[in-house]
Amino acid sequence: MNIERVTTGIKGLDGMLGGGFLRDTANLVEGAPGTGKTTLGMQFIYNGIVQANEPGLIITFEEFPKQYYRDAAAFGWDFYDLEKKGLLKIIMTSPEVSRMDIESVGGMIETYIAQMGARRVVVDSMTHFGRLTEDAIELRGIEFNFINALKREGLTSILTRESPVLLGEAPQDDNLGFVVDSYLMLRYVEIESAIRKALLVLKMRGSDHAKDIRQFDVTEHGFEVQSKFEGQEGILSGSPRRMADSFVEAFIKSK
């Protein structure tokens, strides 16, 4: 069976995803502040418009749209112009309003999608849904409904989520991780007194994907995935060790 892919157009990422995200899926990108979640999302939308002729929406719950216009311009992406052409809309709202809106018939988001023929959406960030309820089961239900509404509208989505820690593994009450179709983790890693960034595709429902942990960077061209970390282990701990050191520790010092 031929599975339809939605390419991100991001160097190195589509290869890790087996060709791209699957059509009409919800894809979680989780990372600490500054790791590049929003840049990845903006690039997914921008490339969708200019490379795949797929209009897109950005739904933001915290960062003002004018910041997106400015940040995008730094990469050479003219979001003002795309909005004028009706190919992009950056909607500032709150989780409670977006939820009520998308669950209603003929709401603002549904209308925009129909008018623009939108195929992609970035929701930045899902972390804010946590303020709707303290009940984990209820929150899972809310997130599940919201994601299903995006799929109902034929949207392939990137949902960002903030990681509460800068380095190392983040303890999360991870209902959302179960609800989404794929799960990408962005992490800071300290190697030889320098901070680098690591990307892992933790899960991808219905598709094979790369299992290795890759380095990535946000350059003047946007998000770029690079080679995998060679000769290191414990990357996700935030403080990896050389594999030889851990070998010595495990097999020689323990004797």
């Binding site: 749209p65 004018k66 909607i91 500032m92 309003v97 009520m100 809106d101």
Partner: protein, 125 residues
């Protein structure tokens, strides 16, 4: 008879595009409305409750709510109900959007801003 100082200033300040003069006198006639109009101009697809809009504007709800209602009344903003919660957004009417654009662009000129501030303060007396 020579005009009084106040009359002279008023005439000087009335030297504005009549459309914008009317806009300032009848629609954006407070500093909070001015801030709100600028915010929605810069973030045109914002749609939210009064509580959240007040947060975005860095002001309190009691100050923002009547101003938003005035902006709805004057056609700059739109209000709709979602599950009986009022949601505010910038009017989609092209003519009104063009007027808002014209006002914000005019505000880039310092002389225009001084005149607009004068009329707002005068209207508050």
């Amino acid at each position: 008879m020579a005009p009084s100082g106040d009359d002279f200033t008023a005439r000087l300040m009335d030297d504005m595009d009549p459309v914008l003069l009317d806009f300032v006198k009848t629609k954006v006639n407070s500093f909070i409305k001015w801030d709100l109009v600028r915010f929605f101009y810069e973030n045109p697809h914002t749609a939210d409750t009064v509580e959240n809009i007040a947060k975005y504007a860095g002001r309190n709800v009691t100050a923002v709510e009547p101003e938003l209602e005035d902006l709805v009344e004057s056609g700059i903003m739109e209000k709709r109900l979602l599950d009986s919660t009022p949601i505010y957004s910038l009017a989609t009417d092209d003519e009104m959007r063009a007027l808002v654009d014209k006002f914000i662009l005019a505000c880039e000129d310092r002389h225009f801003r001084v005149k607009a501030v004068y009329h707002i303060i005068r209207g508050m007396r």
